[in-house]
Amino acid sequence: MIAHFLKNSFFRQIIFYGVLIIISTYNNLFSQSVNGFVRESSSGEPISYANVFLSNTVLGAATSRDGYFVLSDIPPGKYVINVTMIGYSIFKEDIEINDSTSIRLDIRLKEEVIEASEVVVTAERQKFERAIESSQISLDLREINSAPAFIEPDVFRTLQMLPGVQSSSDFSSALYVRGSTPDQNLIMLDGIAIYNPYHLGGIFSTFNTDAIKEADFHAGGFPARYGGRMGAILNIINREGNVNEIKGAANISLISSKILLEGPIPKYKGMKGSWMISGRRTYFDRIIKALKIPLSKNEDGSNNYFEFPYYFYDYQIKANLDINANHRLTYSRFYGDDVLYYDFDETDNYSDSNVNVNQDFQFGIDWPWGNKTNGLTWRWIISPELISKTFISNSYYRFNFNLGFDQKNTYTYSDSVIAVFQNIDYNVFDKINDNTIETEITWKADDRHEITGGFQFKDVSYDLGIGIGIETQDTVFNFSPLGLKNKTRETSLYAQDKISYSDKLKLQLGFRATDYNLHNKIYIDPRIGIKYHYNSDLALKLNWGIYHQFLTTANNQDENLRLVELWMGIPADKDASVSQHFISGIEYMSPKNIFYRLELYSKSFDNLLTVKQDNPNTIEEGSSDSTINEFWDTKGNSWGVEFLLKKSSGKLNGWLGYTYAEANYFNEPSGWHRPNFDRTHTINIVANYDLTSEIQTNFGLTMSSGNPYTKIMGRVYDWQQNLDSDTYWYPVDSYIIGEKNTERYDDYFRIDIGMTRKKGNLFGVNYDTYWQIMNVTRHLNILSYAYRTKIDPWTGNRTGVERRAIPMFPLIVTFGIKFDF
């Protein structure tokens, strides 16, 4: 694959010029500078977006997500370095710069309540001033936890409250972003792609918020370092772990228990580090089992008890090892499973005149599905201005539905034993194995250029199939009505340059080139971002980019609820899906650090694949019963206007968002139509208010247009044939449907409220209690309609059709308790 790249003249030129630039500026790599990390004093966690500057100069920088900063090209002299961050004490230290001196500072900030007015530069302002890309937002743990939640805090539920992000229903935490479906989103945990980041069919995300440090979300227009998806990017960054002492937290909610432990790695030969482990498990199945609710009685008088045959669990591990000041290894692991299980066993014995008969019958369902990821990152600070990150990871997702039916009859005669058995196994599975290696180099070439480049090699194997096995005492029969296996490789090179032409004008130019092994072509994705600071508080942004995607899901677009996603690589005979983003926006950061953003976006989609819902021509020679690998070519577009007002500090904080959105898809059988997740108007309000230092309240409101659905218009006879020995046809009474998704359910409306009481103490252990009430107004939000036919019982005559709404969440009250130790 690399050879394929090298044969391409475009790539040869890129490599040539890249090497030339690095050689010509080699000396700059080691100029005088101040660099280092800014961390929390108590835990050692890196602090992002802290403001680092030298007094009485224009030299300053914001810390990266790793807490890293570098101030370059500092003239020799004496300075005072300042580090400020809201919520922390101000750090000041005298430094002296000589010729060719580089100073390394590892700075700890102490947590301290400081009013926002005292620290003019907040993290929000840092993001406002530094970020060029549009539509990006970062949520920290406080924001994730403070948004109204369903039973327990969930990062996806919080993201659904942002403008541009829609949900299909209350039962799904999947993210529909600006007309893109969830399979177009790249969801990462510490940089590792997660393919099905949900529990319980999408009601919960797989990410345990206790372990999360930050969620970095790009609704569109994302830079060249991200690729392989054309919708949105979500990178969940887990906490690194406490470097000072072992700490813990536990959380008990109505459905699950969670625990988190973190602590330092003992120092050894100058090496030091930290670790963090967290896990959770639902326990409803265990509670039901312990309650022993009788269901029926066995012949021997014993009871059969009610069982709840489902649970999910997950755990996350992260460990950091600082080998020395410039080298760090980070290991990250995630494991999460949903398990649905059921088994039934019945044995019967009886005797006839000359035979004893033993009948054994077993029926079982075993359905696990989930993710397993492992990642190792090596960060190397080559010089203060040049940092490389090499990343190797494996992400494995599988669902494996097994249904077994075993029957065995044993006939015992006086002189012989005969056993007759029949075992039937039915298996549906989808397995994805993603191995990725990636190297990224970030180089602050000078005060005008920050260049990021790298490559990514992604090897993904897909195995989607159905297996049926039948075994009897004299026959073994296995067949696979569906067996789709493909192995794809994406080899990508990318580069981007963040250029500061002036204090007012900044550019971000980038490209990403990907070779997809099933297609004999290289896909080029250019990305452009422009930012113009009208003044220190007001900025205009433009972003444009092309985004290719090399995988899709083969789920029915009209399914009422989605339990799992069926992933597959883009086939060799289909072009890669492609989307073009155009985003323009205006941002305003008020002097009181209230952030306002108005964005207009337009997206086009092409080469989307919509799985065919049925296969009417199964009697055609060569056609299969399954349509899971048969698609309608689909194209689409979306556009919208989004407004965000966000206040991140103070007693009252939160955000208000409004979205006007239109999405349109086109394929042959349905024509142009609105996808079923499309909501035209959406208003979201998330507010948190600190009543006292111990009591916090939160409030969430969502109002939106109803989702589209397809209306039934009338009835007609459709006909079926029977051409066996006889000939006859028979009518099938059918509903005539209207144009796809031209009707809408009633408007959606939901208010959630919650309260957290802090600083409780039980036997010396601190705890917080929290309450949540969802849908306090008990508003009927319609998921779908169920239909029935009115029938005259005497004549069998149909007299009409009735429907009843299937509601989303009713009023739900939940509570939980969280311990810190």
Partner: protein, 352 residues
Amino acid sequence: MVFLLLMISCIGVNRQWEEVDSDYDHVLNVFGILNLDPGYSSFIGLYRTTNLNEVSQKFSRVDTLYYCDCESDGGKEDDNCWCEDENGYWVVDSIYEPAAIIKDASIHITDDLGQSFEFNFMENLTRIDSLNIDTTLNIDGYVIELDTTIFDTNNIRLNFYVDTTGYFKPEPGREYGLSITAPGYNSISGNLKTPLRTKINSVYQRGDLIDTVLVNEPFEISYDYQEIGRALVSGQVLLGDWWTDSTSSGWCGGEFDPFMVDLDDGDLYKQTIDPWICLEQSEQDKVKDYVLRLTSMDNNYYDYFVVGESGEYSNALLNYPTTKGRSVGLEGGFGLFGSIASDWKTVKIIRR
């Protein structure tokens, strides 16, 4: 406490069943078959679309069936009469017909020689030759009447337009046109070219010409090559009467999914049939009649029944299937104007 909260949580909002109405511009719905099989009639069924809140059947009349004379029979009951406290009474049957049926249309079929044949409405046909509305399932000899609340076809009497003169005899490879006018609806026109009848020549198994098929083993049929055309291969084991024929009990074997063949593919004038495997053991040889059928069809019939409707809409909460309303071989309404021509070959099938 937890359960109290869960109970509160389960307090749902009040949901009522509501009537679904529709305001639909109705069109005619045609089911017309020109049947070239010997002894089978061609027919045109004519219906219309109906509203959701419209009754599906309307009362037509009362048919008097017979008189139960309880006095002359000595007051004894039989299978048809209930004579308790009765001297005798007339048994009548209330006849309903589909609300969708159209009786007053003018229907003509013309051939490529310019001859026109008028089709007239025939009411209350329960059977046209072997064509009937079948609402039963036959499973291992059991005849099961389908639940009308599910399949809703029980009381539909066949009310078709047929040629009552006996002159209309469609021929293979000819073109035919259809015209329908009905008061209050758009006119409908249609056309088709009838298929060529294709003969099944022989049946082979293990490479030998056979007259008896062994279950659980593939076998081949050979048929005539045609310049154009497609045909459906189907088959059926004739089980007979389960009550009188013990070998019909628990029969399995010989069944296969009907499939299409291209008659113009000269390399495939032989077609292999892979029947479903029967795992059940048989204590004695069982032999049955086995009917193999090759049904040639015109393009319209092929499009309607084989290609089918790409119904890209599904909703598990709907209690009936859906359609956008198909129109194959027709203009001006929904439905089908198609034609078939079949050949049968009966052999034996044996389980051992």
